[in-house]
């Protein structure tokens, strides 16, 4: 209640300059805010991907601009047993490692979700394999799997359990299992921490309600924990499958695809053919061959696992 109207303060109606009017323009703002992101994506993602796909249809080698050869690269690869072997091992590697990672990762997450002493310390430790650069841990595994100096062989021999060193990476199947073990070791933290985050979103009162409803520990997991974890499990699994299928560093650092090409993944084979081998077109074709697998894996986990009616809030009828 002011005494007189003249004393009341009023904001001055200001005339906006052209610059502030421009920045108030919605269309201008949309273009300006999106431009950097689109630019970066185009230059660093779309262009390399497009170039890679294009190279797959040419006979480019290092030092020589190729010409379009249609499906010739793919036709050659279809008759190449090493390529088929790489596909087999990529799928096998991804399949077994994913099962291992999720089995152990879920178990670890469930353990860490309990009240444990030094809980945060344990969680930090769990993350270690993941924060160490992969090449470093790969080199460590290279030593662990070394034919002469393997610490595992040493332990077994010292304990008197074996007479000779274990052959980890010098024959095909042991090498494959060794690589899978290394990949599982590296992948567990990601799975465990992500699933732990998922577990912590589940209200404790649900477990109490289930306990009163007569559920045993296994039934609480089976009917409460697991279904409620499925959506996040699907997302984590999608990522994990993509990372594992396209893995390069572990294999290249430990076995370089050997012995006798038995542990080549598609990524290592593509690199092997394209860069040291110089056959850029063929390497690109191998890389392009990964795309259908990745699309399938993504769609599968997205549609089969992630969409849940109870999360959507829409009618069920």
């Amino acid at each position: 209640m002011s005494v007189t109207a003249a004393e009341t303060w009023r904001p001055r109606a200001t005339q906006q300059g052209w610059l502030s009017r421009l920045f108030d323009n919605k269309a201008f703002l949309i273009v300006m805010c999106l431009a950097p992101a689109i630019g970066l994506l185009m230059v660093f993602l779309t262009y390399p991907l497009g170039l890679g796909v294009w190279l797959a249809f040419t006979d480019t080698t290092i030092g020589q601009r190729g010409i379009y050869v249609g499906l010739e690269n793919f036709e050659f690869l279809f008759g190449d047993p090493i390529f088929w072997n790489a596909i087999f091992f990529s799928v096998f590697y991804t399949g077994v490692a994913t099962v291992g990672k999720f089995g152990l990762g879920l178990w670890l997450a469930l353990l860490l979700n309990n009240h444990l002493p030094f809980k945060s310390f344990l969680r930090a430790i769990i993350l270690l394999p993941w924060i160490v650069p992969t090449v470093l841990s790969a080199i460590a595994f290279w030593w662990i799997y070394d034919p002469q100096f393997s610490i595992i062989s040493w332990v077994f021999i010292e304990l008197g359990l074996r007479e000779t060193n274990i052959d980890f990476i010098n024959t095909a199947w042991p090498a494959r299992w060794s690589l899978i073990a290394a990949n599982i070791w590296r992948g567990i933290p990601f799975v465990a921490i992500s699933l732990l985050a998922g577990l912590q979103t589940i209200s404790p009162s649900l477990y109490e309600a289930a306990m009163l409803d007569g559920a045993t520990a296994w039934q609480r997991f089976r009917f409460v924990t697991f279904p409620m974890l499925l959506p996040i499990l699907a997302i984590v699994m999608t990522f994990s499958i993509i990372f594992t299928f396209t893995d390069f560093q572990l294999v290249y650092a430990i076995t370089r695809g050997g012995p006798v090409n038995s542990t080549h993944l598609l990524a290592t084979l593509a690199f092997q053919r394209g860069i040291p081998g110089g056959q850029l077109g063929e390497g690109a074709a191998i890389a392009v061959a990964m795309i259908p697998f990745l699309v399938f894996a993504t769609l599968f986990s997205y549609f089969a696992l992630a969409r849940r009616k109870w999360q959507q809030g829409e009618s069920n009828d």
Binding site: S205, A209, M211, N316
Partner: protein, 349 residues
């Protein structure tokens, strides 16, 4: 259905004592409300009854059986949680049938029992919905339905109405009471809302700081509060409390106002004089009071009064108007005055 006997029950988390020896005897079919401010231990006591918390000392018996070491699922109880704790990935039907599914009940029994509970609660149309497609009141009913299908000896409610809006709360309050009258199952209900306690309970247990302040029928607590805490907690608006002393057959409040004493009052001593707002009456020859604030609610008029140095609330059936500061003499209904010992806070006599 069963009696529940809580004998000298104690609870400590580490070195922190939450409950200091609480005893309540609950009769078969009784509706008992545990009420008290936050942190008084009422929810802890309920969770101990449910088996979700260990019992540090004392005994809890359901029926004849001491259940201290009986796991929750074998106690034959059902609980409604404050956040309802409905399984979000199950439909209403699956939520309600979950306990029977775990017990391996045949499909037709499950169907029959769930339909029966759904009819009682008016949930027939919602059985195929997921919890997030329901309103707060509907979720509340599903939580009760889940308890009903268990057909338990004892129902436990942990502040079930505190997530609902005011109107729905009143409605659910009478629904729960009606349900109890229909099923006649022993019920223990925890709330911090004294109105819920007053309207629903057969027996109210008022708790504070891990102790029972008073246990009794709602009107017994209202008419004869055992101490200052209960006097202040039960009744809305809350009781007016005046500090002062007794001399010459009257109560002398600060500011020199002489209040009349109830029959049987002591003849001297430092006391607290309690009078409920609704027990003050307009009386032209009464105490000199002046109006501070008038709050008409329609059915009654609440007036904040100044009497001597004290501010008191009065609730009158009459419609009152008057400028702040104008006189409105009142007198207390002396048969309804409460006196409390100033030191101990206990009721006199």
């Amino acid at each position: 259905m069963a009696t529940v006997d809580i004998r000298e029950v104690r609870k400590a988390f580490g070195s922190t004592q939450i409950l200091h020896g609480v005893s309540v005897a609950i009769e078969d079919g009784q509706f008992v409300v545990l009420v008290g401010p936050s942190g008084c231990g009422k929810s802890t006591l309920l969770r101990m009854l449910a088996g979700l918390e260990n019992i540090t000392g004392g005994e809890i018996a359901i029926g004849e059986r001491v259940v201290n070491n009986v796991p929750p699922k074998d106690r034959d109880i059902a609980m409604v949680f404050q956040n309802y704790a409905l399984y979000p990935h199950m439909t209403v039907f699956q939520n309600m049938a979950f306990s029977m599914k775990l017990a391996g009940a045949p499909k037709d029994v499950m169907e029959r029992e769930v339909q029966k509970a759904a009819r009682i609660l008016g949930l027939e149309q919602l059985l195929h919905r997921f919890p997030r497609q329901l309103s707060g009141g509907q979720r509340q009913r599903v939580a009760m339905g889940r308890a009903i299908v268990r057909n338990p000896q004892v129902f436990l409610f942990d502040e079930p109405l505190s997530n609902l809006d005011a109107k729905l709360r009143v409605q659910m309050r009478s629904e729960i009471k009606e349900l109890h009258q229909r099923l006649k199952v022993t019920t223990v209900y925890v709330t911090h809302d004294q109105i819920e306690a007053m309207t629903m309970a057969d027996l109210i247990v008022v708790m504070n700081h891990g102790r029972i302040e008073q246990a009794g029928a709602p009107l017994e607590l209202y008419d004869r509060p055992a101490n200052l805490f209960v006097a202040g907690f039960i009744g809305s608006p809350a009781m007016n409390m005046l500090e002062g002393h007794i001399a010459d057959g009257a109560f002398h409040a600060a500011g020199g106002v002489r209040w009349p004493l109830p029959p049987g009052a002591p003849t001297s001593g430092e006391v607290i004089y309690g009078i409920r707002p609704e027990h003050l009456h307009l009386d032209p020859g009464g105490l000199p009071a002046s109006i501070q604030v008038i709050e008409p609610t329609g059915s009654e008029t609440q007036v904040l009064l100044r009497i001597g140095d004290a501010s008191l609330l009065g609730a009158f059936r009459e419609r009152i108007s008057g400028a702040p500061g104008s006189a409105l003499p009142v007198s207390p209904d002396i048969s309804l005055v409460h006196l409390f010992d100033k030191k101990t806070g206990q009721r006199i006599p």
